[in-house]
Amino acid sequence: TGGGLRVVFLGGCPRRGGHGCRLSRRRFLLCTAGDFVKVYSAATEELVRLLRGHGGLVTGVGLNPHNRLQLYSCSLDGSIKLWDFTDGILIKTFTVGYKLLALYALDSCEDSVFVIIPKRGERDTFQLVSVKLTKTAGQDVEAKEFSVVLEGVDASPKCTAFGREGEYVASVKNFHLQVYFFKRKQLNRFSLRATNAKGGNNLFTCVACHPKEDCIATGHADGKIRLWRNFYHNKEYVFSTMHWHHDRVMDLSFSIEGTSLLSGGVEAVLVQWHSGSDCKKDFLPRLGSAIEYISVSSDGTLYCTLHTDNRITIINSNLRFSKSIQGLIRARDVKTGLVVDPRTKALVLNGEAGHLQFYCLQSDKQLYSLDIVQQEYIQQAGLNQTDLVKVAFSAQGKWLATVEEREEEPDLELHLKLWFFDEETQSFKLNTQISMPHDDHITAMCFRDMDELEDDSLILVTAGKDCLFKVWVILEDTDPEAQQSLSWSCDFVGSYHNYQATNCCFSEDGSLLAVSFEETVTVWDSSTWDLKCTFCHPPGKIRDICFGRLTCSKYLIGATDHGFLCCWNLLSCALEWSAHLNVVILQPDPLSEHIAAVSWLSKESSLFVFKPNEPRPICIQRNLCQEKIQFAAFVPRDVPETVGSEKYVWLRRSQLYFLTDAQELMTFSTKSSEERLTVSSKQLAVEESLPVTPFSLLLGKHRHQQSQGDIDLTKVVRNHHEQDSPAVKELLHTPAHVLPSASFLCPIFINSLLISKEKKSAEEVADEVEMESEEAEEDSDEEEDVTEMEQENTKSMDLLGEITCKLSKAEEKELRKVRKTDYSWISAF
């Protein structure tokens, strides 16, 4: 295909708001994700359907109260769509014409839904309106008929809730709670003071209504929950306060019978309050990250929480953790960059706080999460948390080095940890921990990548802001009684004129180490640790360096923050070429000579792929995305892809992934999006009604293969049936008592089943027929001859039924014409 390169959004974290999730009775979990609605099976955490069709961010989903197999979704593109989510069919689209920010579908309202839309003419004011969904036939329906219910509501869907049987609606904004009674058409407003005596912040954050009683629960910014009762009266209302959260209550939800209230917040603890009292409560702590949404399934057996790190947790109603659905976990801050695990080919980056996530690109799932920091994570704003800042794998993935730091003015806590892959447990095991390997931040870390050599030649280099780079080697303890025989220790400490070391990298054969010190790149011999030579390209500090590979291994590439990309020749110790380019990321492909450089210029990122031996880039891709690209990584492909164009030959053996500021993971693809989608949807097709256990998957695969085999076979057979349909059809559909004897039919039937050469023969026969007909035309003088010939013709047609099929229509027409003329001629005679 000569098609262009396109950027494909893979996953990650659409950080824009508007998430929501609903649990259906049939154990489906509906979740908005960007422009899509995802349908997961709550039992197997498998993605069942991906509903695509919206042209903007989907802001809300709601089950159709009158048909539990359908759901409404609303989006910023101004449309409400009705879906059959089990089959993934779009039933109807209602165009409203406003940006829709939230959607509420109620039992009591037959033909309308409530949505929040921005008020016309005013910025940042929103109103709750009820939209009448007309029952007219057709796919696309205009729904312009709506009535305003409440003015001045908050845009967040959490700030509005509908009460018992849809009798009233409660909405909170800032310090006000307003309740509107539909029947009485009465609006009650309750206000709180901005701060109370103890300095708590009374700002409303969310609201929930009791499903059976007249009771409203509101959450506040200081962590309090208020239960409002008797709010029919403007004066005689009462509320009780419950306080456990230490920070903002993020979401509230009543259980289906209203016996308990669920609340969640930054603490990552799901709190279950029983019967509205302060004293009886249950906790489910350590859910990983702050809870953003809480949802209760319509049969009340499951709870589900949506977290800020892009994860969905499914919880049993007895507060037992059940499952979690997680793709690429959104880290607070990705500092490790994108690293590829050589063993699993998974992308490795920051995940849950203090953890390293191994993200499988093929299945869009987290393989596992490795706890690096091994400390209890305290969910509290304003704490200096331990961050994972650097990760490096050895060439075979046998060793993993991690650096974690915690900065507390004026101290800095640094730990360098070395992990050994334990074949038995199939996981990384902590081997050595080094406290304060450097006196200041570690800026770079790399292993010596030498595939063929043994463990004892493994070298780790760390470069730090303390103007040093350190070389770490494995020590073998000969004492047989020692707990572990291998440990790491410092072998060499190097520095250069007291400049901060900013980058380090080994050449492909491991003989040279390049360390950049601010403006200078130094090259060291890795066996003697002698300084071999230095390069610099003033002015401008070195931002990134890398060695060329394979045929280009004599080149060293460096990018300066003054906007230059330089290529030095290591043999002549001279500058080979330089280019004016503001390179942010320099990423060499481990399997080829190609180097990808991502530049950032005037709010757009561009990609340049080049070989170090020639200054002209092979491929330039401008305007990759609006956000700044933070990290990039080449992931080797399992099977080299066939790339048509010379321009994209660099994509043959490995694929380039990159992560933007918004933590969105993207890649390049030469295939069109349809091709990709078919592949992915094939993978996702799972029988949704069955719980997908590993066994069923196995069985399913087996069955699938079988059925595929069957299909193949039947295809072959059917092809024939179709081809020789007249003969066989006749045979099959004619009543038995009319049929000639079997011995007569047998050769015809068997002939019809023959596969080879039939096309050819058919053509040949056709030719013959044509010739014969021509002859017939020629020798049309004699009637008898003609009839004879005709008989012959029909005979042959009878015998070889398929021939008639094979004759093209034009030919048939001609034949018929010939016949006609013949007869007319005869009649005229």
Binding site: L284, T313, Q375, L383, N384, S435, L571
Partner: protein
């Protein structure tokens, strides 16, 4: 979903000597028993048969000591002048000793008077011993000769006068009844075979030889002299295997342990060093009060006896091993409960369900789990934690600091608790591994309790002590920095020459590559 992660107490690598299996083994001796002899102890020899009595030769006497006796159980004192080298025969029945006057006496263990006396040496005999065939004795004297004697007839069989200086040490092969070795002050070790007329091998040690030792296999020979201990391969014709220089004064005695895995050497520098006979590295060493002349290990390494120049005999007994008994004392569950479910043999198709191990949390962990920071700090200020495992206390402080609750945990304490805290900080703040966090703690305490300063004499005193401790540490660090500066200066002068040399080299390399380029 994750469970609570207990606090990790950072492990600090132990400074100083590494505790190996060897150190543990050799430290397993009781405090030594000191016995005063009449003169320098020149030889200690253990009887090879139980009850492993040992003969100590000092001055003009040979004392026989029992295993645990403080007093000699027998004394041979028929020497006019100094006695030397009282040695047991293999069966522990006979004892032979040389003397200053040149005669060699043979004693029966049960008797008092010598059974035989061998005269022939003209000068003092410093070394005697039995050959492996039990009926002959070899001896070496200050008259440079090495003689062989027949016990039944008390006559000299052969006399070798090959050494050119005093013969002061020797040993007999345990495998061959004809072979014995002598070492002399003429820097040589000679191997004699009673069947040959002259020595069969001569080894140049390079220093006056003070002690020789043959491995039980007879293949390796160890000689000590000067500061060196040298190991020779006899089967390869006396090739030097390894030369050990771990003492800083003359090595006087050698000995092997019962298993033959360790070699011990005693020296005038007051040390006994223990070497591994596989790697020939020092695995342990003992210190003694004065210079060591003789050394012996009882079978099974039960006792180490060391004789010194000042006549003190130092006896160390091995501690009885208790640990096993202790574990046995632990009450076993009743047989029925113990056996319950354990005699079930799993079938092949059975599926194992392993029970997750129950995680027992320490007290401070439980409190930390419940976010009770003050109580957690209280828990680790208990005496047994504060005094014996200060790293736990400090780790909890660190954890509280990480959680941002250290200040509130430190606040609101009474006089007793503050003074306790301050004592802890004062004592531990100078330890480098604790310094960073304890400085923060000290800062916070002074911050918090500044307003109440002067209300309690005890607390004020503690504050002053803290100040004093920190002042001392600062002075100390300054001194260290000065020393470091001096050392840097020294190193700089040392490495300067090297650096210039390197630079020359580098320029050579560069010109070389340039030349290559031009050739290309």
């Amino acid at each position: 979903m994750a469970s609570y992660k207990p606090m990790v107490v950072p492990a600090v690598p132990r400074l100083g000597e590494k505790v190996t299996q060897d150190t543990l083994y050799w430290q397993g001796y009781k405090t030594p028993v000191q016995i005063k002899e009449f003169g320098a102890v020149n030889k200690i020899d253990f009887s090879p048969v139980p009850p492993y009595n040992y003969a100590v030769t000092a001055s003009s006497r040979v004392h026989i000591y029992g295993r645990y006796s403080q007093e000699p159980i027998k004394t041979f004192s028929r020497f006019k002048d100094a006695a030397y080298c009282a040695t047991y025969r293999d069966d522990g029945q006979l004892l032979v000793a040389g003397s200053e006057e040149g005669s060699i006496r043979l004693f029966d263990i049960s008797g008092k008077a010598p059974l035989r006396q061998f005269d022939g040496h003209t000068k003092a005999v410093h070394v005697v011993g039995f050959l492996a065939d039990k009926y002959r004795i070899f001896s070496g004297g200050d008259d440079y000769s090495s003689n062989l004697w027949d016990i039944p007839s008390a006559t000299e069989i052969v006399s070798y006068t090959e050494h050119t200086d005093y013969v002061r040490c020797g040993c007999a092969s345990k495998l061959n009844g004809d072979v014995f070795i002598t070492g002399s002050y003429d820097h040589t070790v000679k191997v004699f075979d009673a069947r040959a007329k002259s020595s069969v091998m001569t080894i140049e040690h390079g220093h006056p030889v003070e002690s020789v030792l043959l491995f039980p296999s007879g293949g390796l020979l160890v000689s000590a002299g000067g500061r060196f201990v040298k190991v020779w391969d006899v089967l390869k014709g006396g090739q030097l295997l390894v030369s050990l220089k771990n003492h800083h004064k003359t090595v006087t005695c050698l000995c092997l342990n019962s298993s033959g895995q360790r070699l011990l050497s005693g020296s005038l520098d007051r040390h006994v060093k223990i070497y591994s006979t596989t790697s020939y590295k020092v695995v342990h060493s003992f210190n003694y009060a004065t210079s060591i002349l003789s050394l012996a290990l009882s079978p099974e390494d039960e006792t180490i006896v060391v004789g010194m120049t000042n006549g003190v005999l130092n006896v160390k007994h091995r501690k009885p091993e208790e640990s096993k008994e202790k574990s046995q004392k632990k009450r076993q569950p009743a047989y029925r409960t113990y056996v319950k479910g354990r005699n079930y043999m799993p079938k092949q198709e059975d599926f194992f369900v392993s029970k997750p191990g129950k995680c027992v949390l320490r007290k401070y962990d439980k409190l930390l789990k419940g976010f009770q920071s003050s109580k957690a700090l209280d828990a680790v200020l208990e005496p047994h934690i504060r005094l014996y495992t200060p790293e736990v206390t400090v780790a909890v402080m660190q954890e509280l600091n990480r959680r941002g609750t250290l200040r509130s945990a430190l606040a609101g304490r009474d006089e007793k608790q503050i003074s306790l805290l301050l004592t802890f900080v004062t004592r531990r703040v100078i330890e480098p591994r604790f310094t960073p966090i304890l400085v923060t703690v000290a800062d916070m305490i002074t911050d918090i309790y500044q307003p109440v300063l002067g209300q309690s004499a005890v607390v004020d005193k503690q504050f002053l002590r803290l100040q004093e401790a920190i002042g001392r540490e600062i002075d100390y660090q300054e001194e260290l920095l000065e020393v470091l500066g001096m050392m840097d200066a020294l190193f700089a002068t040392l490495t300067k020459k090297k650096a210039t040399y390197l630079e020359e080299n580098k320029s050579n390399g560069l010109t070389k590559t340039l030349n290559q380029d031009t050739y290309n």
